[in-house]
């Protein structure tokens, strides 16, 4: 898949993901599990989307970072977030 400016680069992904994760913490703290989970799901979805075109991200070439390492790190983060979602996915109060 050829990279376009619309598909997003790693720094954009990271910036948005950090924002979303912070928002999720805020929601969970406010006992708003539904939205907390939604923010987590957004991050997981973004990571998945990015992984689909990771090799063509110009930033990785500019930096340059080994795509395999980045993929492994993001996959690890994704798994962690998936676990986090499962940990909060019980019945609503």
């Amino acid at each position: 898949m050829k990279h376009t400016e619309q598909t997003g680069d790693l720094l954009s992904l990271i910036g948005q993901a950090i924002d979303e994760l912070r928002l999720s913490i805020g929601k969970f703290e406010a006992a708003d599990r539904e939205h907390g989970l939604k923010h987590l799901a957004t991050v997981i979805g973004s990571i998945d989307a990015y992984l689909d075109h990771l090799e063509s991200d110009p930033l990785l070439h500019l930096a340059p970072l080994p795509p395999g390492d980045v993929r492994a790190s993001l996959s690890h983060i994704r798994e962690d977030l998936d676990e986090a979602m499962r940990g909060c996915a019980g019945p609503s109060k």
Binding site: K2, H3, E5, D9, L10, L11, S12, I14, G15, A17, I18, L21, R22, S24, I25, F28, E29, A31, R33, G36, L40, V43, S56, P58, L59, H61, L62, A63, P64, L65, V70, S73, H76, I77, D80, L81, E83, A84, G87, C88, G90, K93
Partner: protein, 280 residues
């Protein structure tokens, strides 16, 4: 643990006294190190049978008997180091208690997934970073509240995490600590991670750890772009896009980064290595 096995030749001799007698000699002041070691070995040799007999009782745990015996030896060593003759207790009674405790801990460690999760390791590293950064800036370690604020945790959660961190150290074979507390009881997982149905601590830690890992990646990118990067035209050629497109992508990424830096000063990015690097 193998180093704790008693050496051959340390068998009790006919003129040897009982455990308590040997311990009385051992606790006497002015003994030469070699003499102390000799007495310790005699006590251990006398009690090898005790260790084995206790270890056998735990054979149904599924752990190899040799490993259980090794764990038992640690209990025995602790008993030798800590037995107090002033208490009118038989050494074998005291040692049995510690031997059993060590074997139980060993089995529990093996069976209770007390493997340190990745997110705990990440959090421990973050705590260390924040502590160091705070110390450099203020000349003192952070208070619990300051540390909690920097990590976006409540004080109670941070306290639980710190207890957990201590527990992980504690269950490892830390001779110095064990000599002062021969039979430490590691906290349960519930103590390490008190459950809150609305927002379990483990979930929070996972999210914070993810933020931290992302921040580290951010740092790597910035370092790469500034110090090791390829030229925009090189990358354009590799990817089959124009240098102008590459430039736009990089500029936009830098904008994102600038925005992210505006959030610094609080939260998991605060005080992290990425801060200084990114500003460069």
């Amino acid at each position: 643990m193998t180093g704790d096995r008693p050496r051959k030749g340390a068998r009790a001799t006919g003129q040897e006294r009982d455990n308590e007698g040997l311990l009385a000699r051992l606790k006497a002041t002015g003994l030469a190190p070699a003499e102390r070691a000799e007495i310790e070995e005699q006590i251990i040799a006398r009690n090898v049978g005790l260790v084995k007999s206790i270890a056998v009782r735990f054979a149904s745990s599924g752990e190899p008997l040799d490993d259980l015996i090794q764990a038992g030896y640690i209990g025995l060593l602790n008993a030798v180091a800590n037995f107090d003759l002033a208490h009118n207790t038989k050494f074998s009674t005291y040692a049995s208690h510690l031997i059993q405790g060590e074997i139980r801990h060993y089995i529990r460690d093996r069976h209770s997934t007390i493997r340190i999760p990745q997110w705990v390791q990440t959090m421990n590293r973050r705590i260390k970073q924040v502590e160091e950064a705070h110390f450099q800036e203020h000349g003192r370690p952070p208070s619990l509240r300051e540390l909690a604020d920097a990590l976006e945790l409540t004080e109670a959660q941070l306290a639980a995490l710190l207890r957990g961190r201590d527990a992980m150290t504690y269950v490892s074979i830390d001779q110095e600590r064990r000599s002062s507390d021969p039979n430490p009881t590691p906290p349960t997982l519930e103590e390490i991670m008190p459950e809150s149905p609305a927002f379990p601590l483990e979930t929070r830690m996972r999210i914070v750890a993810a933020i931290d890992q992302l921040a580290q990646m951010q740092q790597l990118i910035v370092q790469g772009l500034f110090y090791h990067g390829k030229s925009q035209s090189e990358v354009g050629q590799e990817l089959g896009i124009s240098q102008r497109q590459v430039s736009r992508i990089k500029d936009r990424a830098m904008d994102e980064l600038r925005e992210a830096l505006l959030h610094l000063g609080s939260g998991p990015l605060a005080g992290s290595e990425s801060e200084g690097e990114a500003e460069n």
